[in-house]
């Protein structure tokens, strides 16, 4: 094994063990950010030792023993006293006994601790960006470098974001708490928002060269699955998971061999992932059983489910989709939802009706600078045979698109409209 191979192996073991390490340490130390620091130290110790000694037979137990030793040292040095006054009478004996048995690693159910970890990482006190970075670090075990690469930002920016977020949590006394009752659902929405932010960052990469960054999608999906298993009675957690699974099921069909995007209606549906569609439909069903059919994520999932269940693009139930968008618009006022509803109405009732909705949206300040508005408008105009206006709309859309591949696609559509205008 080369040094790089060993490092990859160590990181792989780390990612599997990390949630259990951090939750065990958080329980011992009653401090999530501190637990995170010490689990990172255990990783560094492994990166230092294992290339010499080889990977131990039970690497998880090694990491756990090392992390706990650091935690105990920490407690012994009494630093905890500065952080938590109630721990003055901390009894080392009791604490030793409270440590989970190293060999029964599979026995402790970490569900509650993991929930606490996720709620801490996604605390509404933190900015959305900080929550996303902290969640990827603490829940998914990504390194600072990996998070920076995923968000196309410098390492230093992410490192600083994480350090600041952890300091904010510690200084605000939020280092170890779990919300209850009414606060729970309010806080859950902050968690779901971050998970969906991470998913979308990977699914429609707003910036950069590539259309998709699958690692972020996968990490968001994983967090979504974790949430539905540790908070199984929350309908919106299932709704969000359904939305992500159903969207991700189209991944293989969304780009051609050259990496150019293929729009949904032109995709080869044989490439849609049926295992993922099945999982998405199950999650949506669960959200409905829990009374959450009208939640914002469940409604969006229901829309995508209409596509997932249509065998061909022509089979799509556009009236139902338009109806679901109307329901969604009643829950959250958003011009982007209105724009999507216009697309569905256009398919169900024809481009004239849709153009009326879209033309109303042109005056909407929130959509100023949003490339999909002129893009949808161009599409409707093209269908109506108003090619010259369509060309202008596609060019305006291309000028606003941040993703290069999307920009190129819109330029191609502008050129097609120009050709149609010339020959009509």
């Amino acid at each position: 094994m080369t040094a790089a191979d060993i490092n990859r192996t160590i990181l792989a073991v780390w990612r599997i063990e990390q949630p259990r390490l951090i939750t065990s340490l958080a329980r011992m130390l009653r401090d999530v950010p501190l637990a995170e620091d010490l689990t990172q130290e255990a990783l560094l110790a492994a990166l230092e030792r294992w290339p010499e000694t080889g990977v131990p037979e039970k690497p998880g137990a090694w990491l756990m023993a090392t992390a706990k030793r650091r935690a105990l040292d920490h407690l012994r040095r009494g630093r905890m006293l500065e952080r938590k006054h109630e721990l003055v009478a901390w009894d080392m004996e009791a604490e030793q006994q409270a440590m989970p048995d190293l060999d029964s690693a599979l026995d402790d159910d970490i569900g509650d601790e993991l929930l606490r970890l996720i709620f801490t990482a996604c605390h509404p006190r933190l900015s959305r960006e900080a929550r996303a970075a902290l969640a990827l670090r603490m829940i998914c075990g990504l390194t600072t470098e990996e998070i920076a690469r995923a968000f196309l930002l410098p390492d230093a920016t992410i490192a600083q974001r994480i350090v600041r977020a952890k300091r904010t949590l510690s200084e605000s006394g939020l280092a170890y708490e779990t919300p209850h009752g009414g606060e729970l659902s309010e806080r859950l929405s902050s968690v779901l928002e971050v998970v969906y932010l991470v998913f979308n960052e990977g699914y429609t990469a707003a910036r950069g060269q590539d259309w998709l960054r699958p690692q972020l999608c996968n990490e968001a999906l994983r967090m979504g699955r974790v949430l539905t298993s540790i908070a199984p009675h929350e309908p919106e957690a299932h709704g969000l998971l359904a939305l992500m699974e159903l969207n991700a099921s189209r991944t293989a069909a969304r780009t051609d061999a050259a990496g150019e995007p293929i729009l949904m209606l032109d995709q080869n549906r044989a490439l849609w992932d049926q295992l993922q569609i099945r999982r998405g439909m199950q999650a949506l069903e669960r959200a409905r059983e829990l009374g959450g059919a009208g939640g914002i994520y469940a409604l969006q999932a229901a829309i995508i489910a209409c596509h997932a269940q249509a065998r061909t693009a022509g089979d799509t139930d556009w009236s139902r989709i338009a109806g679901l968008y109307a329901e969604l618009a009643a829950v959250v006022r958003s011009p982007i939802i209105d724009l999507n509803r216009a697309v569905a109405v256009g398919m169900a009732e024809g481009p004239e009706v849709a153009l009326v909705i879209v033309d109303r949206l042109v005056r909407e300040p929130a959509l100023k600078g949003y490339h999909l508005l002129p893009s949808v408008r161009g599409d409707l105009l093209h269908k109506l045979g108003r090619y010259e206006e369509a060309r202008a709309a596609f060019e305006a859309a291309a000028a606003l698109a941040g993703n290069r591949r999307e920009h190129d696609l819109l330029r191609r559509r502008a050129a097609e409209a120009a050709d149609a205008a010339a020959s009509s």
Partner: protein
């Protein structure tokens, strides 16, 4: 990346209750961690059938099969960042066999799905 794990015991026979329990706990943890997407055990090969083509001739053969030595006992489908994680997870799974069913021999094959 998606991986399929195919478990092939060298000798037929059910797992010990201890191994079953340990595997159940591991599976529970992996589902909760969002890594395991699907899994299943297979009925004994003797109860199955094989549809073969030999020398251009298609035939259906019901079990038991005399020549069957190593047979697939079960499978699992995982979503993981890469092959290193996939191998690490398989090592942990096989370590359970070593710990909870001494004398057990067999293979866990780790195969990535084709595609993006």
């Amino acid at each position: 990346m998606r991986f399929m794990y195919i478990v092939t015991p060298a000798h037929p026979g059910p797992p010990t209750p201890e191994l079953m329990e340990a595997m159940h706990k591991l599976a529970d943890r992996e589902i909760k961690a969002g890594r395991m997407l699907d899994s299943g055990g297979l009925m004994p090969v003797a109860t199955g059938a094989q549809v073969r083509i030999r020398d251009g001739q298609l035939s259906v053969v019901d079990g038991p099969f005399v020549e069957a030595k190593e047979v697939i006992g079960g499978y699992a489908i995982f979503e993981l960042p890469g092959k290193e994680e996939a191998v690490a997870a398989a090592v942990e799974f096989m370590q359970l066999h070593k710990d909870f069913m001494p004398g057990w021999d067999g293979t866990c094959e780790v195969r990535a799905f084709a595609g993006p």
